[in-house]
Amino acid sequence: MSSDETPRPSETNAEETTPAPRRWVCTPPIDIFESEEGLVLRADLPGVAADQLDLQVQDNKLTLFGRVGTAVPEGARLVHQEYHVGDFLRSFILSDEVDHERISARLNNGVLEVVLPKAEKPEPRRIEVRTE
């Protein structure tokens, strides 16, 4: 997917040193809605702790990558499976309207909320005209 386009330094290092077992990558479902200051994005990332979430904006692309912690102790044997446990990856192209500097995010109960404030339009500037 888009992981090859957006290199994550911490990720590539980890993969080079230890050949990690194959992990599933899931696309998290999201909501996007308008708020007074701009747009709000919410994504379901169950099992992701705040320090395991990588959120970055590069150029106009917002990428979220959440690494899922292991919920089960070692040695647990899977006897019934209805879903795959996997890391979450999804990226978006932001419009120029979004003020990249003021993007903020929080993660609660496995739900990420990213606030994408609208860039303030510069005030029309009056140019003084002088006469000699």
């Binding site: 308008e34 169950p46 099992g47 692309k61 919920a71 647990a76 006897v79 990226s91 496995g110």
Partner: protein, 170 residues
């Protein structure tokens, strides 16, 4: 005018597929009674030496939004998924996350001790511990020293004050 565009056409197509998938899933959840869909939430069950462990992904669910009950060897999970704030539906540009009330019941195997079940909710993942009944586990047999005379209460444990429960003496 779309504010969010997809990075590449192929990715956009894949995403569409996933979205259709999800849509079908959510429809299935609605028509669960008609037996055509997958029940919500999806669960995984793991087996360990001492217990079974049931996990379910319930992002955005707080402890107070979740109710677990057990009776007649049936586990019932009930919950509601909602955001803390009410968003006017007109303000949505994209809405994929499932919301609303759900309920799911599961039969429990006989080997589970209902009284000792407990659950945790961590980062939106439910972990329900189902301890195995003692008959399923290697049993510890207390040995008393019969030579002291009244060996009935002399159960050798590290904390003799509180450990002599009636069930241990039989």
């Amino acid at each position: 005018m779309p504010v969010f565009r997809w990075g590449s056409p192929i990715e956009a197509f894949r995403d569409l597929e996933r979205e259709v998938d999800r849509l079908l899933q959510s429809m299935n959840a609605t028509f669960e009674g008609l037996r055509i869909g997958r029940p919500y939430p999806a669960i995984n069950v793991y087996e360990l030496d001492e217990e079974f462990l049931l996990t379910a992904e319930l992002p955005g669910t707080r402890v107070e939004d979740l109710e677990l009950s057990v009776g007649g060897r049936v586990l019932t999970m009930r919950g509601v998924r909602q955001d803390a704030d009410e968003i006017d539906p007109d303000r949505y540009r994209r809405s994929e996350r499932p919301r609303g009330e759900w309920e799911r019941s599961l039969p429990l195997p006989d080997r589970v001790e209902e009284e000792k079940m407990y659950a945790e909710l961590i980062h939106g993942v439910l972990k329900l511990h189902l301890p195995k009944a003692p008959s399923e586990r290697p049993r510890h047999i207390p040995v008393t020293d019969a030579s002291t005379g009244d060996g009935s209460t002399a159960i050798p444990t590290s904390s003799p004050a509180n450990s002599a429960e009636p069930s241990d003496e039989q």
